[in-house]
């Protein structure tokens, strides 16, 4: 009975068990159906994402050449370690830091950045590591899942010239850059100044994309089932600059240990042959992995080595403005070539405006040659008194002062050439008067210009009255086409008359032959014309200007030199300009002048003197 009851119970239980097993199997089947059929979309996408890695193939950044085809800036390969946050184990930070011989905080900081940027994408961990370290990491890769590498490139520069202000530096794109440019990837370097900034889009080219199958350890698996939908990178355009590397090197040599700027320009085209801003910085030290100490140093340096004085410095033009002043005066009929204005030691109008040029009668040519202030005080007085301030201002701007020159460099200043509206803003309406204007006649007072503007003005005087647009890039060469980006044809300044121009140019020639240029610029073999100037500096020695062109009859170059705290331009800036003229036009230079320039020290001077 007991057995039977047990037997029955067993039979029932086994049937129940069969039902139970079948039910569980069907539940499992249902679960599989749910995953494979209902949620298929979700998991198939996830499966793809899992195994396909998008890899960026960086494009080669465009090279930079000088006007004669000499290579100035190129690229060299550097090894960059990458990290894939999805597979990287952060407990390896210590090991990684030890292998790389860096601080652990640097590793963990960079990994945090990579994690925030993308959990699945490989991001740079440490760029520009040397080959030994790279090898050590490769040997230990088995215990560092998620670590990979990329061969990237960094800029490498010709040893011959510095030209840091022309080229500009690259830095890794920051959060703001990613917002404005979606084709950037973490770790990409972009131009932050100079030509690298202005021509960033052209130089960078376009990165290619490659899809790779990888296994769970991030090892790329060659061609296993790769749907090849990638794109090839497009190389960046090469830049042929207007720079003459030899001349640039010479100009940099002359500016060593001096503060200021040099512009050497072709007055007929606007091509900049050399541009120096001193002090400069070592652009190659900003090329690879960021040298934080050096970066901090050049940023905090009181001499502001990052500042491009050649295009950004704003200074009163001083007496270099006088030839243009004369031109406008002739055009407006306020003076004639023969108008005589005596210098009795100053110009008396409400107060005495001093003039240290030799006393005597001055016509325009002589006034330029000997830099008589009285002549131009009087002329400015006439402009102001006849209510022609705004006409004067317009005419000055026609020569490139006080306007944007549209050079292909960032942060070029427009300078200040005042008109009545400006002065209303500057001083307040009816708060300014003749006393604020007379100084403008000798390039002082409420006006400021950059060295580039003075060079542009000098070009227009020397080339027969054509306003040129200065530029640094002759052409951009892509694999498919050549582009001439910033070259504009010179445009005739319509009101300029040749006879007036010749008179003024003769005055400038006289500066070199008889005026204060005679000390260091006068020579028998090269007809240089020029004008000195002093920008008064309330903080110390005056800044000296010398702007010039040569040969006198058919000018080929304009040289503008601006030296800060140099005192007399005739003995500081002028000899530098002379050497550059000689070097470019004759291929040689006067050794004695060169030695003088190299050994030159700023001298004490009377900063009130404005006869230059």
């Amino acid at each position: 009975m007991n057995d039977f009851k047990n037997h029955h119970r067993t039979q029932v239980s086994l049937r129940v068990m069969q039902v139970m097993f079948a039910t569980v199997c069907l539940i499992v089947l249902g679960r599989v159906f749910y995953l494979q059929v209902i949620e298929y979309e979700k998991y198939s996408m996830q499966g793809e994402r899992n195994s396909i890695r998008q890899e960026i193939i960086p494009s080669a950044r465009g090279l930079i050449y000088d006007r004669k085809g000499e290579l100035l800036v190129s690229n060299e390969p550097i090894f960059t370690l990458t990290v894939n946050p999805a597979t990287y184990d952060t407990t390896n930070n210590q090991l990684l830091a030890e292998l790389l011989d860096v601080d652990i905080s640097q590793v963990s900081d960079q990994i945090n950045i990579a994690q925030r940027y993308s959990w699945y994408r490989s991001s740079p961990l440490l760029s520009d590591i040397d080959f030994t370290q790279f090898s050590i990491i490769q040997q230990n890769l088995w215990q560092l899942p998620g670590i990979g590498h990329q061969v990237k490139s960094k800029r490498t520069y010709s040893d011959k010239i510095n030209a840091s202000h022309i080229f500009g530096y690259l830095r890794e794109a920051d959060a703001k850059d990613f917002e404005t440019n979606t084709s950037l990837f973490l770790g990409d370097k972009i131009g932050k100044s100079g030509l690298e900034l202005i021509y960033e889009d052209r130089l960078r080219g376009e990165s290619g994309i490659e899809f790779k199958r990888v296994n769970a350890y991030g090892q790329a698996l060659g061609s296993f089932m790769v749907e090849n939908e990638g794109t090839n990178p497009i190389e960046g355009a090469n830049i042929i600059t207007s720079i003459d590397a030899d001349l640039q090197a010479f100009a940099e040599d002359l500016m060593t240990d001096k503060t200021g700027a040099i512009i050497v320009m072709n007055p007929n085209t606007g091509a900049i042959l050399a541009m120096v801003s001193s002090p400069n910085y070592q652009v190659d030290r900003l090329a690879g992995r960021l040298d934080r100490a050096y970066w901090a140093q050049i940023n905090s340096d009181s001499t502001r080595p990052l500042f491009n004085r050649a295009v950004s410095s704003r200074q009163p033009p001083g007496s270099t403005f006088k030839p243009l002043m004369g031109l406008i005066g002739l055009e407006e009929g306020l003076i004639t070539p023969t108008t005589n204005i005596p210098n009795t030691g100053g110009y008396q109008r409400g107060r005495l405006y001093r003039d240290i040029a030799p006393k005597g009668d001055y016509d325009l040519e002589k006034a330029i040659t000997y830099s008589s202030n009285t002549y131009f005080y009087k002329l400015m007085d006439d402009f102001a008194s006849s209510g022609r301030l705004n006409i004067w201002s317009e005419r000055v701007k026609d020569f490139g002062l006080g306007v944007d020159l549209e050079i292909d460099l960032p942060s070029a200043t427009t300078g200040i050439i005042p008109d009545s509206a400006f002065l209303d803003r500057w001083f307040g309406i009816n708060k300014w008067g003749l006393g604020d204007l007379i100084n403008l006649g000798i390039g002082q007072g409420v006006m400021s210009v950059s060295p580039l503007q003075i060079a542009t003005m000098t070009s227009a005087i020397s080339n027969g009255g054509y306003r040129i647009t200065p530029y640094l890039v002759e052409q951009l060469e892509t694999p498919y086409l050549t582009i001439f980006p910033n070259k504009k044809d010179p445009s005739k300044i319509d009101w300029v008359q040749k006879e007036h121009l010749d008179l003024v140019k003769n005055g400038m020639r006289g500066v070199v032959q008889r005026g204060n240029g005679r000390f260091y610029v006068k020579n028998d073999f090269l007809a240089i014309a020029g004008k000195t100037g002093t920008a008064q500096n309330p903080h110390g020695y005056s800044h000296g200007w010398f702007t010039s062109f040569a040969p006198f009859d058919y000018p080929e170059i304009v040289v503008t030199v601006f030296l800060e705290n140099a005192g007399f331009a005739s003995i500081s800036a002028a000899p530098i300009a002379r050497l550059l003229h000689e070097y470019y036009l004759l291929g040689t230079y006067s050794n004695n002048v060169y030695n003088y320039v190299k050994n030159w020290e700023p001298r004490d001077d009377n900063s009130n003197q404005t006869a230059e």
């Binding site: 007991n2 047990n6 067993t10 039979q11 239980s13 086994l14 049937r15 068990m17 069969q18 097993f21 079948a22 569980v24 199997c25 069907l26 539940i27 499992v28 089947l29 679960r31 599989v32 159906f33 995953l35 494979q36 059929v37 949620e39 298929y40 979700k42 998991y43 198939s44 996830q46 499966g47 793809e48 899992n50 195994s51 999805a86 597979t87 199958r213 990888v214 296994n215 769970a216 350890y217 090892q219 698996l221 296993f224 089932m225």
Partner: protein
């Protein structure tokens, strides 16, 4: 005398062959795929070794059919004792693989003693229970002894750090308890903590609901005040202990592992990685799969242990719902067939052994596939006849062979009962 040709349960054999072939295909894909050169050398050999095991097991399966069925009962205690000794040997001389010290190495082959312990434990427990006449008065004492027969090897397996296999042994406990004649209600009460514990991991509310439901069941089946009170106390205690463990006792990384089970995206690279990769592999298979050797999850090794614990994902990814459902249905038919063999027996020993073996297969299947499909937390145990593993394959086939042998001679066996 029974004739092998006529009386052998060929259906079971056929289903076994089907499962073995599915297994060989999956192991081939997991270890011989197009990018298998990235796998360690010894794993690349797994398919060929498995082929050897299958061939050997096939011979074994038929060889066993010539053995006198009484031998299983008569030698059960001896075999049980011998395998216990083997287990203890393993503890001392065993080789550690993946953290579990469960392999004894003989030359080129490793022997996983716990796989054979499963067989002898079933035989010994069944022998003990079915040798007692007039079961009824001393149920509790018998239940306790048979519990110990299972529990001692369970402890040894836990000592080997093989938690997955220990669960298989523990799954035998309710079967045996039930067979020993314990009332349904008491049996339900005994297995209730496991159910409540499982649900409490998701949420203490589920745990409490399960406790109430089980208590109601116990009350309806037994009408016993004391059992009902015990059920309430035990159930509530389980819920409280799980809550305390999760919030106070367990280390953060252990809690993470438990939470990852309920929410795999909680930590995609840590504990939840396997779950996500397994679900992705299966889910991306779709209706018909990506094709043999073309599963990206499988071939690119996003699945760990894909030739053993995650073998189901290989099938699911490369052969899709079609392949996965064939596997599940074949396995289901196989289990139901074994239970049918058990029903057909008049000999209690043969019946209990067959039933227990079916239960072992079932628990293996449910935990393995349940882990891969995220129905259960990831517990590493192989899928019988599918996963790579020599000891497991041979032991599982041996269990089937015993079932088939006792079925083949069931008329002769019934005489002895």
């Amino acid at each position: 005398m029974a004739s092998i040709q006529k009386d052998l349960d060929w259906m079971s054999v056929l289903l076994w062959v089907g499962l073995s072939i599915i297994g060989l295909i999956a192991v081939y894909s997991a270890t011989q795929g197009p990018v298998s050169e990235f796998l360690p050398r010894f794993i690349q050999n797994n398919f060929w070794k498995q082929l050897l095991f299958v061939g050997f097991s096939l011979g074994l399966l038929f060889y066993i059919q010539f053995i006198n069925p009484t031998i299983f009962k008569n030698f059960s205690y001896l075999a049980y004792t011998a395998s216990l000794l083997l287990m203890i040997c393993t503890l001392f001389f065993g080789q550690e693989i993946n953290g579990a010290k469960s392999w004894l190495r003989f030359g080129g082959f490793g022997l996983q003693s716990s796989e054979f312990m499963k067989i002898t434990t079933i035989l010994a427990a069944a022998n003990f229970l079915t040798s007692r006449r007039n079961i009824g008065l001393e149920q509790i004492r018998y239940a306790l002894v048979s519990f110990l027969i299972i529990f001692v090897p369970t402890l040894l397996v836990i000592a080997q750090n093989d938690f997955g296999t220990a669960i298989i042994f523990m799954a035998l406990i309710p079967v045996i308890l039930f067979w020993s004649g314990l009332p349904y209600g008491v049996a339900l009460l005994i297995i209730s903590p496991a159910i409540i514990l499982y649900l409490s991991v998701f949420s203490w509310i589920y745990g409490l609901i399960a406790m109430v439901a089980i208590t109601a069941g116990v009350f309806l089946l037994q009408r016993s005040k004391w059992l009902t009170i015990v059920s309430v106390i035990m159930g509530s205690a389980t819920v409280v202990v799980v809550q305390l463990a999760l919030t106070k006792i367990l280390q953060p990384h252990q809690v993470a592992r438990v939470i990852a089970f309920t929410n795999p995206s909680y930590d995609p690279t840590g504990a939840g990685w396997n779950v996500i990769q397994a679900k992705t592999a299966i889910g991306s298979g779709g209706w018909t799969g990506k094709g043999f050797l073309e599963g990206t999850q499988t071939q690119l090794r996003f699945l760990p242990e894909q030739w053993t614990d995650f073998i189901f994902c290989v099938v699911g990814e490369e052969f899709g719902f079609l392949g996965a459902s064939i596997l599940i249905l074949v396995f289901m038919l196989f289990l139901l067939r074994l239970l049918q063999l058990s029903i057909n027996h008049k000999n209690p020993f043969a019946q209990l052994v067959t039933l227990s073996i079916a239960a072992v297969y079932f628990v293996h299947f449910f935990i393995n596939v349940g882990s891969a499909t995220a129905l259960l937390p990831v517990i590493g145990i192989p899928l019988p006849f599918i996963s790579y593993g020599g000891s497991a394959f041979i032991a599982n086939t041996l269990m089937l062979a015993i079932c088939l042998n006792m079925d083949l001679y069931k008329r002769e066996l019934s005489i002895y009962s």
